[in-house]
């Protein structure tokens, strides 16, 4: 109880502490790698090489990061209102339906930049709709949002499989997916951006969604810290009793927050569906919604932190793929272990070192 209230400068809270957590996560991962008989140093070199060593690696890293920025923002907005949205996964999945319908409807007639706003809106509206029922149940009935959003992940997954297998499937094909979108229904790659830095994107699916994600970071920042709604969201999250005192309507605020959160999660679908595979497939979200929870925690629910954390997880994903390719002993599951350790230290144990740092700071750091 003695160190929790001691204020620390921001560079420690937002810089040093996440860094230390990360270092410890990697050290323990190193021990694990060493146990299975590989050199930790070689492993980390391969991982970084694979993720950041060339244009294609960077392209994949940023492609994954784009997914995590959207879902991280989704979790963060809800978290500011004190709501733990575990349903970004399902909201993104259903959001994919909205994005895909826009592309399927328009790709014959218009270029991509006309389709894009409709796809963005479709993804956001479908994602938001999927968050609406849990939000309403929380606001009106007090059903815990964690439980309902988890359940809606399952319902959403089942619904999407049904639609893809029975409704949206191309007649005569075996694969449960929609037809491939024409160019007018795709989001173009950002090869010029990588080329600006002298790299070659190659087959990496890094696309315009990344720019939309960065734009949404700015939008979320303005929403949370520069609008009256954001003020109400933060008040509700920080002190529900103070929110009642201030006359902030609980039901309305909870529902609006969750619609925004679900919308952001839905927009994640733009990246894989319109940007990468140019079709709607089953399981395209691939756990990005859950990674978003870790990204949001690690990024302290701030857009800038979320971008950095999303890139870190992008590195882990892409570098992990490369690593498991080059070091067969380190399987896909080992990569998940390493990611798990990062989540554990950076997210769940975020204040692990705080008491020690406070003591050092009090002894040496005082101005």
């Amino acid at each position: 109880m003695s160190t929790a209230s001691v204020p620390l400068p921001n560079w420690i809270t937002y810089g040093l502490m996440p860094f230390l957590n990360l270092v410890v996560a990697f050290l323990i991962s190193g021990v694990v790698v060493w146990f299975i008989g590989e050199s930790p140093l070689d492993a980390v070199t391969l991982l970084l090489q694979g993720a950041l060593g060339n244009g294609e690696g960077i392209g994949f890293t940023l492609y994954y990061a784009t997914n995590f920025i959207f879902t991280g923002l989704s979790v963060a907005v809800a978290y500011h209102a004190g709501l733990f949205n575990i349903g970004s996964e399902g909201q993104a999945y259903v959001g994919g339906l909205g994005a895909a319908l826009a592309s399927l409807a328009l790709d014959h007639y218009v270029p991509w930049y006309v389709t894009m706003p409709f796809a963005v809106a479709g993804a956001a509206i479908f994602g938001a709709t999927w968050a609406l029922i849990p939000a309403w149940l929380q606001a009106k009935r007090g059903s815990h949002i964690v439980i309902t959003t988890i359940m809606f992940n399952f319902i959403g997954a089942a619904m999407m499989v049904y639609l893809l297998v029975h409704v949206l499937i191309v007649p005569g094909k075996m694969a449960p997916e929609t037809r491939v979108f024409l160019e007018g229904g795709q989001l173009p790659k950002l090869d010029w951006l990588i080329a600006m830095f002298g790299g070659k994107l190659g087959p990496a699916p890094f696309n315009v969604s990344f720019l939309i994600a960065l734009f949404m970071c700015v939008v979320v920042w303005v929403l949370i810290w520069r609008t009256k709604l954001g003020y109400e969201i933060r008040t509700l999250g920080a002190s529900p009793t103070a929110a009642i005192y201030a006359g902030i309507p609980y039901v309305k605020t909870v529902i609006i927050t969750m619609l925004i959160s679900g919308g952001l999660a839905g927009m994640m679908a733009l990246n894989p569906v319109l940007g990468a595979s140019a079709r709607l497939q089953v399981e395209f979200v691939g756990g990005a919604g859950f990674v978003g929870i870790a990204v949001s925690l690690m990024g302290r629910s701030h857009p800038l932190g979320i971008v950095l954390a999303a890139i870190l997880f992008g590195v882990l994903y892409q570098g992990g793929d490369a690593l498991s390719f080059d070091m067969p002993k380190i399987t896909r599951d080992m990569i998940v272990v390493i990611q798990g350790l990062v989540i554990l230290f950076a997210g769940a144990l975020e204040y692990l070192f705080r008491p020690a740092i406070v003591r050092v700071w009090q002894r040496f750091g005082k101005a």
């Binding site: 009256k228 954001g230 006359g247």
Partner: protein
């Protein structure tokens, strides 16, 4: 065992120094407490009393200095070490398990082995002995949450004694007690002293210091500024030492000039979350230009009454009218628009969001107002300008509107709330515990502001468990007991009469 000059003092603090970041909480504190005496420590909030006692009890470690207990140099690493050194602490907020019995609470942490049987029977006989020695009667099998607050506190004292405490630290022990319960506590403390225990009493109530202490130390801004024999000092001197300047202890005010009825409460009944009736068929009026005080021991329905009037809790039945217009069931935003200002009882949970910057709190509840930004946007510069003006006018310290609200002292936090609510110039100001945990300087300031509101023709409804505060501010006093208004009195009514009414004994 009576105090003898030759015996080593029970507590000696020598050169205690403690810093939290830039805050120097304790500056080279020296304190000697004689064995078998009651020693008072007074000081404003943030003066360093609690820090000092937390160091003595092992919660914090001093940066410098040493502690001697009974003449022995003692290192107090943690509260376990404090207990084995014979130091016991009774916290302001009780550390009891509410649904455990008295006995279970007393042995908590010192059960003596994995099986309870023997520990329990030992404890039972030990409790009997303590009861006989000190007159601390309490049924060992009673469940804590069913006991009145005064008895719960007694359990805390028993807990400390059971652990062999020779030195007892009490932190603001009378905050939750009726005057009668407080008197009873003082009697117990007197017995404990006569039996050779040493007692340190932390309080901001000067009257208590004068009533029961043998010696008193005054702290101000982290320093020990004076130690006096209680018989050789006066309330005025102590107040001046605490604040560092002369203080008016009585509120100066002229007669009230009440005019139109602003607030009417008609047959109001309010239930709490469990469905228990907390306010039972209460009716009263508050007129413009008067302060109506509601006296009562905490937990007799005042909080629920306030919540119903301010739109936080929906009443079960009855009617509330502002300027004759029915407003029953309105939420606080609508009531604010009708000219209601609300200084809530609990600034930490309601009046403020502690994690916010000061400037953000200075608009809480009024943030939708167009002066703080057009349309959906919040104009932070406007909020900060507004906050700066209030900081200046209400002398809020430190004068930094970007500082996190949690880092302000209790008195300054309260001033943030008071400034926000009063500056909107409400027709009706509803005030709960305006000076709870607030230092003397700020109390004086807040009281003057409330009277100024009255004199400006506003209606003020005041709820406080501090009888002194009710008596010095109110023009009429309503006494609440068990959810009912049991009587209306004038402010010159004797404390004893009001105390009996608050205890439900006389009407």
């Amino acid at each position: 065992m009576s105090p003898t000059p030759t015996a080593a003092p029970a507590i000696e603090l020598i050169g205690i120094d403690k810093k939290f970041g830039a805050v120097h909480a304790n500056k080279n504190i020296n304190l000697t407490v004689a064995k078998g005496s009651i020693h008072g420590i007074i000081g404003e909030n943030g003066a360093g009393k609690s820090t000092l006692m937390s160091i003595l009890y092992g919660f914090y470690h001093a940066d410098a200095g040493s502690i001697r207990i009974n003449g022995q140099n003692t290192v107090i690493q943690d509260s376990q070490a404090a207990i084995s050194a014979g130091i016991g602490m009774v916290h302001q907020h009780f550390m009891l398990v509410e649904n455990f019995s008295v006995l279970e609470n007393v042995i908590l942490g010192v059960e003596g082995g994995a099986l309870l049987g023997r520990g329990v029977s030992d404890a039972r006989s030990a409790l009997k002995r303590l009861e006989a020695d000190y007159g601390l009667e309490v049924d060992p099998d009673a469940i804590i949450e069913e006991l009145p607050v005064g008895l719960q506190q007694r359990v805390e004292i028993l807990k400390a004694l059971y652990r062999g405490a020779e030195i007892l630290i009490l932190d603001e022990p009378t905050g939750v007690l009726t005057p009668a319960e407080a008197d009873h506590l003082f009697k117990i403390l007197g017995v404990l002293r006569d039996q050779g225990k040493t007692i340190v009493l932390i309080t901001h109530k000067l009257r208590e210091i004068m009533a029961i202490t043998d010696t008193v130390s005054v702290m101000r801004r982290g320093e020990m500024v004076a130690t006096r024999r209680t018989t050789e000092t006066t309330v005025e001197e102590l107040a001046e030492l605490m604040v560092g300047r002369r203080v008016l202890l009585r509120v100066e005010k002229g007669p009230a000039a009440p005019s139109d009825v602003v607030l009417s409460v008609r047959n109001l009944t309010v239930k709490d979350g469990r469905g228990v009736t907390m306010v039972d068929n209460v009716s009263f009026d508050v007129r413009a230009g008067e302060v109506v005080g509601i006296a009562g021991v905490a937990g007799n329905g005042q909080s629920e009454l306030l919540e119903a009037i301010t739109g936080i809790r929906k009443p079960a039945s009855g009617e509330i009218l502002i300027h004759g217009k029915p407003v029953t069931g309105f939420d606080s935003a609508r009531l604010r628009a009708l000219g209601l200002g609300h200084i809530p009882e609990d600034r930490h949970h309601m009046g403020l969001v502690l994690g916010f910057e000061e400037s953000e709190n200075s608009v809480l509840g009024y943030h939708r107002d167009s002066r703080y930004g057009r349309g959906p946007l919040l104009d932070l510069d406007a909020c900060r300008e507004d906050a700066k003006a209030k900081i200046e006018k209400y002398d809020i310290r430190p004068p930094n509107c970007r500082l996190k609200t949690a880092n302000f002292s209790g008195g300054n936090q309260q001033k943030i709330v008071v400034a926000r609510e009063i500056e909107r110039d409400p027709a009706l100001l509803v005030v709960g515990q305006p000076t709870r945990g607030v230092d003397i300087g700020a109390i004086e300031f807040i009281h003057r502001r409330l009277i100024a509101m009255r004199d400006a023709g506003k209606a003020v409804l005041l709820v406080s468990v501090e009888l002194d505060e009710i008596r010095s501010l109110s023009d009429r006093i309503l006494v609440m007991f068990a959810g009912r208004v049991v009587g209306e009195k004038t402010p010159d009514t004797g404390e004893q009469t009001l105390g009996l009414m608050m205890a439900g004994i006389a009407a």
